[in-house]
Structure formats: structure tokens, C-alpha cells
């Protein structure tokens, strides 16, 4: 008799197949959608990816950060800096932004990891504020009022405007797929097992020989890497940067947290569901302005109090579905 670990279930195989079909349809979007559709879809991808990374950080590693805007802004500023001051192609600058942010995240982690729980949350926010204030001191990039990407950089990307739109759209899609794949692979690795153990009980995880601190450190740095690449992409699409926009706590953290909690924290499907709900609400209620944000805050509070596992948590409890093959199952095989 031998023991084997298999991933997934019939539901996850169906889910993966569905994802593959959706991916093909989305990759072909430039051929069926207009310019507005592409911009909206790119924004959705960015939020799915940002929320998935925050979910990895907070939902799995228990690192509740409210300062991820630090890396969105850092990535964006690295892209603008390299493109404007060094004339680098944005396509090269995006991965470089991720690498630089990961490098910056290492000393930052040493500092903020000294704070626990809630204090960690506010500590990360202060780091983001420091980044924002430093960015507004860089006069070469417009200081406090920000700057725009020069036309030469934009034209260098692709000769026609339509091609540029397509290119940025495909990069956004590729990035969200890559980030989701990275998270799935990470969760399927031995680090994933460690993370799930940490999620369920840090004490028990430590007792089973998991180096909790090291695992959290790894997740923090990986998250910074992904978040900064997204920041670079988001502002490449916006073509304009300012410290307040790039390091906005509302845009890059409040929304992301609400999305994750509404969708279901600690589950990989949660941020995707949450983003869809978020954009449905936004497209229908955006005219309400500040009232819309007020309602979003209220919905997030209600969900946290009434259904802390979010929408996907309710679905899993009711139907046992899973879209991504993450669940481990031990199979006993008999040899007669």
C-alpha cells in the first residue's frame, strides 16, 4: 500500500477548464471590444492582481498591511524615473520595477516586522507615507505636483495608438495571469503548506517546525515584487503620475481590502469574485460620488460582521466548489 497526495477535485478540474476558456476569450478582447472595454478590463485585471496579492499577504501569511500603496507608488515612480531620466523602454522598466521594489522590501520588512498585529498595519502605512513624501521631494519627476510620460516614450512603445492600447491590454492580462499562477504555484509548494498552517494557527505551525518568520518574510517580499509591477503598469496606462495618486491609501489599499473581504479572504477565488462585485457596484453607483464610497465601507463592515468568510466562503460552505486545484487530498493505493 502506498500513499499519494493529489491536488484538486472534479469541481477544480471544471473550474480550470472554465478559466482556460475565459482566458482565450479575454485574450481576444481587442478583436471584440472597444477602447473603453479594454481600459475597463485592464483596470479589473489590476485590481484582481492587487487583491490577490493582498489576500496572500493578509489572508494566508496573517500580515495585515494597510501600506501596499507604498509598492504601487514605488513601482510607478521607478517606471517613470527609468523612462524619463534613463530613456528606458517601459517594457523593460516594469519587471525592473518589481525587482527594485523587492530589494527595497527587504530592509523595510526588517523594520515593520518589529511591530505586531494591528501595529504592523499602521507601521506599513507610515512607510508608505514616507515613500510619498520622499517622492514629492524628487524635483526631476515633478515634485509634489507630479509629471507626465513624454510623448517620445509613449510612441516608442508602439507606432500607432491602437497598437499601444492592445499592447498595454495584453501586458495587463499577462501580468494578472502570471501573478495568479505564481500564487497558485506558491500555495502548492511546501511554502504553501506552511502558509496554510500559519493561517490556521501560528502556534501549531511553529510547533511543527515551520519557520514562521522566514515564511512571512518571503511572502512580504514576493508581494512587494508583484505589487510594484502592477503599479508600474497602472501608471503606464494613466500616462501621468503624482505622489498623491501613486501612494493613495484609498485607491490601492482601502478598495483592495474591501474587495478581498467582500469576495472572501483566505481563498484564492475570493479576490476575483470581490473585484467583479466591486466593479458591478462601481459601474452602477459611481454617480453617487462620496455616497458610493460610504456604502462600500458599510457593505464591507456588514460582510465582516455577518459573513466573515465573504461571498466565496458562503459558496464553498454550501456547494464545496473550488476553481483552482489547491486542495490536497491523500489517496491510499492498494496493491493486491
Amino acid at each position: 500500500m502506498s500513499v499519494r497526495v493529489v491536488f484538486g477535485s472534479r469541481a477544480s478540474r471544471a473550474g480550470t477548464a472554465l478559466c482556460a476558456v475565459a482566458l482565450v476569450a479575454l485574450a481576444a478582447a481587442p478583436f471584440w471590444g472597444g477602447r473603453d472595454d479594454l481600459v475597463l478590463l485592464s483596470e479589473i485585471y489590476a485590481y484582481v492582481a492587487l487583491a490577490s496579492l493582498w489576500n496572500l499577504l493578509a489572508g494566508y501569511a496573517g500580515l495585515v498591511s494597510v501600506g501596499q500603496q507604498a509598492y504601487v507608488g514605488l513601482g510607478a515612480y521607478v517606471l517613470f524615473g527609468l523612462a524619463i531620466l534613463a530613456g528606458m523602454s517601459p517594457l523593460v522598466a516594469i519587471p525592473l520595477a518589481g525587482i527594485i521594489a523587492a530589494g527595497v522590501a527587504i530592509p523595510v520588512a526588517f523594520l515593520v516586522f518589529r511591530l505586531r498585529g494591528h501595529y504592523f498595519a499602521i507601521g506599513t502605512w507610515i512607510v508608505a507615507e514616507v515613500f510619498r513624501l520622499l517622492a514629492s521631494q524628487v524635483s526631476a519627476l515633478g515634485g509634489g505636483s507630479g509629471t507626465s510620460l513624454p510623448a517620445s516614450v509613449i510612441i516608442g512603445l508602439a507606432p500607432s495608438r491602437q497598437l499601444r492600447d492592445f499592447l498595454i491590454y495584453w501586458i495587463a492580462l499577462a501580468l494578472v495571469v502570471a501573478i495568479l499562477a505564481l500564487i497558485v504555484l506558491l500555495l502548492r509548494s511546501r511554502y504553501g503548506l506552511a502558509l496554510k498552517a500559519i493561517r490556521d494557527s501560528e502556534l501549531a505551525a511553529t510547533c511543527n517546525g515551520i519557520d514562521v518568520k522566514r515564511t512571512k518574510f518571503l511572502v512580504y517580499v514576493v508581494t512587494a515584487f508583484g505589487t510594484a509591477m502592477l503599479g508600474a503598469l497602472i501608471f503606464l496606462q494613466k500616462l501621468r503620475i503624482s505622489p498623491d495618486a501613486a501612494f493613495s491609501v484609498n485607491d490601492w489599499t482601502a478598495f483592495v481590502i474591501f474587495i478581498t473581504v467582500i469576495g472572501g479572504i483566505g481563498r484564492i477565488e475570493g479576490p476575483i469574485i470581490g473585484t467583479i462585485v466591486f466593479f458591478l457596484l462601481r459601474q452602477t453607483l459611481a454617480d453617487l460620488g462620496t455616497l458610493y464610497l460610504l456604502m462600500l465601507g458599510a457593505v464591507a463592515i456588514l460582510i465582516m460582521l455577518a459573513a466573515p468568510k465573504g461571498i466565496w466562503g458562503l459558496i464553498v460552505e454550501r456547494f464545496g466548489w473550488q476553481v483552482f486545484p489547491l486542495e490536497r487530498k491523500v489517496v491510499l493505493e492498494h496493491f493486491d
Binding site: 493578509a58 494597510v66 498595519a121 481590502i257 455616497l291 463592515i301 465582516m304 460582521l305
Partner: protein, 289 residues
Amino acid sequence: MMEWINVILQGVLVGGLYAMFAAGLSLIFGVMRLVNIAHGDLIVLAAYLALVTTQTLGVGPLTSLIVVVPLMALIGYGLQWFVLNRTLGEDLLPPLLVTFGLSVIIQNGLLEVFTADSQKLQAGAIEVATMRLFSGVYVGVLPLLQFAVAVAVIAALQLVFYRTALGRAFRATADDPAVAQLMGLDNRHVFALAMALSLAVVAIAGVFLAVRANFDPAIGPARLIFGFEAVIIGGLGSLWGTLAGGLILGVAQAIGAHFDPGWQILAGHIAFLAVLAVRPEGLFPKVRT
């Protein structure tokens, strides 16, 4: 030399206000391990309540405290009783998320009612009154009053915590909620009282903030951050440490601003990060016996 004395003095006086921001934060963390992300927005809410009070009753800002302090305490009790008590537990995400949601609700609610225009409370002649400390060094009467109030608030909290039955209930619940409950304390009520006290302090801080400078619905988060920095610099669990933390933050900001106005806030953050790097338990942590 005189210049530097002035800079440091101004920093110390502002630091009193930061210590008041921090005291309310530190109090509820001490009692129920809750960090209230909406703390700064509640300070701004108190400032707007004072604005409405002064306008409708035609009284001065300091008199408006008679209305604003009990009102904020009541809001605190209700908030804890109906919302925040449900979030307390092993998991730290629910209280964090709910107070984050509250922060967004308060900010946008204030924006909806009062618009984004900045406001200020007018305190009259006292605003410009100054006193001569010694030759060449003058201080405003209002900042001095604000500082004296801050010291009084910290002293009063210290007294409540260590000399009254309420303080005993706070400390007992903080040490072991289950045993406190067995001894006949209703934890939900104790927590609600702690939040009421915290928001009473927030009310005082809010009114002084509103007299000292312009305010608008968006300035809350920065006040939360200043209060938080003061708590960590001073050391967790020590009220006098919190006062010291506030003063150090105020002085660091004043020195930064003296070199370049753009460095004011940054200098405060850097002082905070330096303390975190060198002495993460804070400068005056409470020694557990």
C-alpha cells in the same frame, strides 16, 4: 541659540496635542487590544461637532467642550456596544477592517455634509495673545493652554487607571477577560466605557486641533498616524511615555520644518522609524512586574 529654543518650544507645545491624539489610542489598545483605524477621523468628527455647536449656540470653542465631550463619549459607548464588541476575538482582521470601514464612512459622510472646504474654529482674542517667557522667547497663550490641558488629560487618565474602581475594571479586563467576567464584570460594558473615555479625550483633542489650524474631512488619517507614532516612540502601555512620545514627535517635526517646510512630517516619520530600528519597545516602556 534663541532661534533653536523657539523651535524646540513650539515643537513641545504641539507635542501636547499629539500626546492627546495618542492617549485615546493607547487607552483602548491597553484595555481591549484594539487599534482604531478611525481614530483620526473621529478627531475630525469632534472638530466638526464643535464647529456646529459654536455656530448654533453662539458659544466659544472652549465652551463647546461641554457639549462635544459628552456627545463623543456617547458615540464611543454606542460604537463599541453595537459594532466593535462583535469584532473582538482571536482574529485581528475584523476589528481592523471594521474600523477601516468606519474611517471611510466618517470621511465621506463629513465630505457629504460639510464639503471639502477647510474650516477653523475662531477662539477670539486668546488666539493671538502671547506671553513673554524670558527675553526674546514668547509663547502663545493658546498653545500653552493646550499643552497644560494635554498634561492634565494624561494625569487624569493615569489617576482613573490606577486609583479608581473603573480603572481596576479596565486593568482586570485587560489582564484576563475571562477571569474578570467570572468576578462579575460585564466585559462588553467595560469595553464600551473604555471607548467612551477614549472618545472623550478625542473630543478635547479635536477641539484644540480645530482652534489651532484649518481642518477638512480628509485630515483624519494623518492625525491617526501622529498619535500612533507618539504611542510607539513613548513605549506601549505607559501614559507618561505617551506624553513624552508626543513631545519628541512634535520637536522632531519642528526641527524638520525649520530646515524646510517640506520636511516637517517626514522628520516626524524618520524619528519614529529610528526609534523602531534602535529601540522597538519604545523609549519608556512600562515594566511588567
